[in-house]
């Protein structure tokens, strides 16, 4: 905890230094530069545009794009309409993509408390998506009835598929050891315990031995040079155990993925921008449509470009959806479509270079 507090103090100090160091004229200059330049003729001349999605001459050849929507945490809309509005906004976003993505990954936690009506509502909303949807399960979908209702709607929770030369694997990474049978918890008590962020009696997420065995056997038919993209609800590495920003057998899963040349893991659960690289594996977080989590006090990967805290008066701020560009090489660029902010792209080059090049632009709007 100490390092975080010290960083906070350092940032605060830097902030006030900046204010003390600048005269009013400089402030105006800084805030008004763009505006000043645009005025000249009283007409609007578009210029000085810094496209977020810069196409570079040496950009790798793009193979295809898929989109994602994640962590909608739906209640019945008579209880909470806001999260319904948010997932509908994401569906609108994705349906407006031109060209359409090849498919859409749903990243888990469609429901808040695994209720049949919540899952039904979510399933109906996702039907409006024009492109095909690939589903992944989250703990909020699972622990009322151990996934029974979710599987009835969406089928298997662990599966793989091939798309344009890339092998995709979808895991259920929210398996925890049984801590509910002994104290005779009801299904709803179990669900509510699992729905807590900071549950002192909780257990860490795992992929588990059974799925690891399945994964090994699934990958036996895949060549090491075939690009691999893995979807997991929890990050397949360790950030902060008390919040389950964590997969307990992450190292064992990483070992199974290690022989492959290019591996990308996309995860939900953390509701924030997160980037990491471990060996040959690139990791990207997904945004939630419902709310952003603060960053955990420990364990943040150094490659992560942090998003600033959300404006509490803007229900969409810090939330969003996104897309992934897959290149012929199998590497991916990950785009965070942050509502109320400018989109941010985290490129394969940035992760490959260990942060030395192609650093994503951080939000410069001092409002955030």
């Amino acid at each position: 905890m100490k390092d975080r507090y010290e960083r906070y103090l350092a940032e605060r100090e830097a902030y006030f230094d900046r204010i003390r160091g600048l005269g009013r004229r400089d402030f105006l200059k800084a805030s008004g530069l763009v505006a000043a330049a645009a005025l000249a003729t009283g007409k609007v001349l578009p210029h000085s545009f810094q496209p977020v999605d810069v196409v570079r001459a040496d950009a790798p050849e793009k193979s295809f794009r898929f989109a994602y929507i994640s962590d909608s945490h739906l209640y019945e809309k008579t209880l909470n309409e806001r999260f319904v509005r948010a997932i509908l906004k994401a569906v609108d976003d994705v349906n407006a993509m031109d060209p359409q993505p090849d498919f859409i990954l749903y990243g888990g936690d469609l429901a808040q408390l695994g209720q049949p009506k919540e899952l039904e509502e979510g399933a109906q909303i996702l039907k409006a998506l024009k492109a095909p949807v690939r589903m992944m399960v989250g703990e909020h979908d699972w622990y009322l009835d151990m996934g029974e209702e979710w599987r009835r709607h969406f089928g298997k929770d662990t599966y793989s598929f091939d798309h344009k030369g890339v092998h995709f694997v979808v895991l259920n990474s929210v398996i925890v050891e049984d801590y509910w049978t002994a104290p005779k918890m009801t299904p709803m008590e179990r669900m509510k315990a699992m729905a807590q962020l900071d549950n002192p009696n909780g257990r860490p997420f795992t992929v588990g031995e059974a799925q690891r065995d399945w994964l090994k056997s699934d990958l036996t038919k895949v060549k090491p040079e075939t690009p691999l993209v893995v979807f997991s609800h929890s990050p397949l590495y360790k950030i902060y155990k008390p919040w389950n920003f964590w997969t307990d057998d992450a190292e064992e899963v990483q070992k199974i993925l290690a022989p492959f040349k290019t591996v990308t893991v996309l995860h939900g659960h953390t509701h924030q921008m997160l980037s990491n690289r471990i060996g040959n594996i690139h990791f990207h977080g997904m945004l939630s449509t419902a709310w952003p989590w603060p960053y955990a006090p420990q364990g943040l990967p150094k490659l992560t470009v942090r998003m600033n805290r959300a404006d509490p008066f803007d229900e969409f701020d810090g939330c969003g959806d996104g897309s992934v560009d897959v290149f012929r090489s199998g590497r991916v660029d990950k785009s965070y479509n942050l509502w109320s902010r400018n989109p941010i792209r985290v490129s394969a080059e940035y992760l490959d270079s260990d942060g030395a090049s192609a650093r994503p632009p951080v939000e410069t709007d001092v409002n955030y």
């Binding site: 105006l28 800084a30 763009v34 000043a36 005025l39 609007v44 578009p46 196409v55 409002n367």
Partner: protein, 378 residues
């Protein structure tokens, strides 16, 4: 938070000694009405253009002078008329030859408190702003600023004044410096609400008092139209998409297109481009369809409302917010249905009506009107 405002707050909180501001900008040449913080006013006057009585007088004359348009029919006051709350009571501005603009004329009252000028904020100062309409073909219509300067230089009645104040022949920078100086004293205050805050409980009606409570409560108006020491004009000086532009058909498609274009020049030729608001100035996707939060002092005088004048009355404005604005892909996340009762809506209107400046803070006070022939020939 904008840095200017951070600085303003720092001064108000005593972090930066105010004497620095005094030394640089000088105090206001006229007493400021109640409700207008003099220290904030001073801070917002650029040190390179201190407000002096002479400059204000010159700026006032220029402001009301129709010779400052290509065909001699339009002055600043044509669209920013003191009799109409320094606006024009039209949906959109009308310039030379009856040409229509695309946006509602914003009031210049208390514009000194705006950190950005124009609905899309593309000018950072009142000086920069004043240069715009002079050469806008649908406003005052000059081809360039040289033409403006030529007109002023040719007018014998200005020659001595520019010499005396600026020590040279008129230049475009001196012209707008004078106009901006006049605009900076066009502050209003001493509204019924200011007297209420000062302790006169009976200064505003029961309904307006309920409206004030709603303002910062259920109706959430204060999210953007906050009232406080650093925001005496009830604006957060930011840009928000509340869906006004989305009333026009096809806005959603235009907005999606704007967000994905690689070269925004291709959008510049679209007649609907102006409806993209702040995006026009920044080219940042988050600014699509966002317009500046206007200040609300004297708002009862400046109907119709919104950047396109599309809401006729304050009650219409309240109804627009009550339904949660107009849905569009970039709608601000703070804009949600409010479920106000009819009485609550009336209370909010009553509160806004209590913000009209009076007495020494009235927008119709003599020193803000067109100069008389005698004053004009000084």
């Amino acid at each position: 938070m904008r840095l200017t405002r951070v600085l303003a707050l720092a001064v108000l909180l005593g972090v930066i000694p105010l004497s620095v501001g005094h030394a640089r900008a000088g105090g206001p040449p006229v007493p400021l009405p109640k409700g207008v913080p003099a220290d904030l006013w001073e801070l917002l006057v650029p040190p390179e253009n201190p407000v002096t009585p002479e400059k204000v007088a010159l700026g006032r004359k220029l402001y009301f002078d129709k010779r400052l348009s290509k065909d001699g029919t339009v002055s600043c006051a044509t669209c920013h008329d003191p009799a109409k709350g320094f606006s024009d009571a039209d949906k959109v501005a009308e310039g030379i030859g009856g040409k229509k603009g695309t946006r509602n004329s914003p009031t210049i009252l208390n514009a000194v408190f705006n950190e950005f000028q124009f609905w899309d904020g593309r000018a950072a100062s009142l000086e920069e702003q004043a240069k715009g309409p002079l050469i806008n073909p649908v406003e005052m219509g000059f081809a360039n600023h040289d033409e403006v300067v030529a007109v002023v230089r040719a007018a014998a009645d200005y020659r001595g004044e520019f010499q005396r104040i600026f020590g040279r022949e008129p230049t475009i920078d001196d012209i707008v410096a004078a106009i901006a100086s006049f605009e900076r004293i066009a502050v209003t205050g001493d509204a019924a609400f200011d007297r209420f805050l000062a302790g006169d409980a009976g200064a505003i009606s029961e309904s307006a008092r309920r409206g004030w409570a709603l303002w910062s409560g259920k109706s959430r108006c204060n999210t953007c139209h906050a009232f406080g020491q650093s925001t005496p004009n009830l604006s957060d000086n930011k840009f928000h998409n509340i869906g006004v532009a989305a009333k026009n058909k096809d806005f959603a498609a235009l907005a999606r297109r704007a967000a994905s274009v690689k070269d925004p020049k291709e959008l510049a030729f679209d007649p609907e481009f102006t409806e993209l608001g702040r995006f026009v100035a920044t080219k940042q996707p988050k600014d699509i369809g966002a317009f500046k939060t206007p200040g609300l002092r004297d708002v009862a005088l400046t109907a119709p409302y919104m950047h396109d004048g599309s809401e006729a009355t304050l009650l219409d404005v309240v109804n627009f917010y009550d339904k949660g604005g107009e849905p569009n892909p970039y709608l601000d996340g703070g804009i949600v249905p409010l479920k106000l009762t009819e009485q609550e809506k009336k209370d909010l209107v009553a509160f806004m009506e209590s913000l009209t400046g009076q007495g020494s803070g009235s927008p119709t006070r003599p020193e803000l009107q067109a100069p008389t022939a005698k004053e004009g020939s000084r």
